[in-house]
């Protein structure tokens, strides 16, 4: 239960157009006030539980994403916010876009929309909470994502 009451998030903007980002930030502001659920935008992966990713993966930020994922202590949940993070969205076949976040790190929940409303993101956080509890109970560890020399995921 404790996990579900204190989800600290780290917000990672990888390839986003800012639309999703500002909505993630809007979740924290008075009108939506995610802190009601104990959500803190904590900044450092070392203290985070939920990784909120906006935007798709490109060749430059793929390592960033993996590094940050590896630095979050278990149990952890990845929430892909927006069409870009979920599937690559409108940019899915741009030359510098590898695809959705799940091409690189395991994603636990997706939030649709371009951009998703803050309410949708809150839904996502709530969904992430139950996954977090499950992971704790089942002692499910996130696998260490290896940084490949080539920086290109095999399934890209």
């Amino acid at each position: 239960m404790s996990l579900a009451k204190s989800p600290w998030i780290i917000h990672v903007n990888v390839n986003s157009c800012n639309g999703c980002d500002i909505e993630v930030v809007a979740c924290l502001t008075p009108l939506y006030d995610a802190e009601r659920f104990g959500v803190l935008n904590i900044g450092t992966p070392k203290q985070a539980d939920i990784m909120v990713v906006t935007g798709s993966v490109n060749y430059k930020n793929v390592n960033v994403l993996k590094n940050l994922y590896n630095q979050i202590p278990d149990p952890k949940v990845v929430l892909a916010v927006g069409a870009c993070a979920s599937t690559g969205g409108i940019f899915h076949n741009c030359y510098n876009v590898i695809g959705g976040v799940d091409q690189v790190i395991p994603v636990d929940a997706y939030v649709p929309g371009c951009c998703p409303r803050p309410e949708a993101i809150l839904d996502g956080v709530v969904a992430a909470l139950s996954i977090l509890e499950e992971k704790k109970k089942g002692n499910i560890k996130g696998k260490e994502v290896k940084l490949k020399g080539s920086e290109v995921p095999s399934n890209a």
Partner: protein
């Protein structure tokens, strides 16, 4: 060409280019941006300058294999766009203030010169 072409002044050599740009700077023009187009195997560079909300455009043709001169020594702010074209078109500008060597946006594994 067509009637809605933008007005440009043709520049013949890179020496002339630098001189013209310097002249524009002393006339109080701001560097706005530069446009790169593929043309006749080479590239057309359209330099856009602005003063009092009016634009002045220079067009310079880069022959295949030619290394155009950077104007970042005159206008520092030109360095970003010139680096961008190094990435995207595979051009090489000489005398860049900061040379990202084709790694401004792209990393060694991304597609090379995608717009070329």
């Amino acid at each position: 060409m067509l009637d809605n072409t933008i007005e440009t002044t043709e520049i013949k050599s890179s020496g002339e280019l630098l001189k013209t740009v310097e002249g524009l700077k002393s006339d109080g023009y701001r560097y706005s941006t530069m446009i790169c187009l593929k043309a006749n195997e080479g590239h057309d560079l359209i330099y856009i300058f602005e003063k009092d909300n009016k634009l002045k455009n220079l067009r310079y043709f880069v022959k295949p294999g030619e290394k155009p001169k950077s104007v970042s020594g005159i206008y520092l702010c030109a360095l970003l766009i010139e680096n961008e074209y190094q990435d995207l078109f595979g051009l090489t500008f000489e005398g860049l203030a900061i040379d990202y060597k084709g790694h401004l946006y792209l990393t060694p594994n991304s597609p090379k010169a995608p717009l070329a």
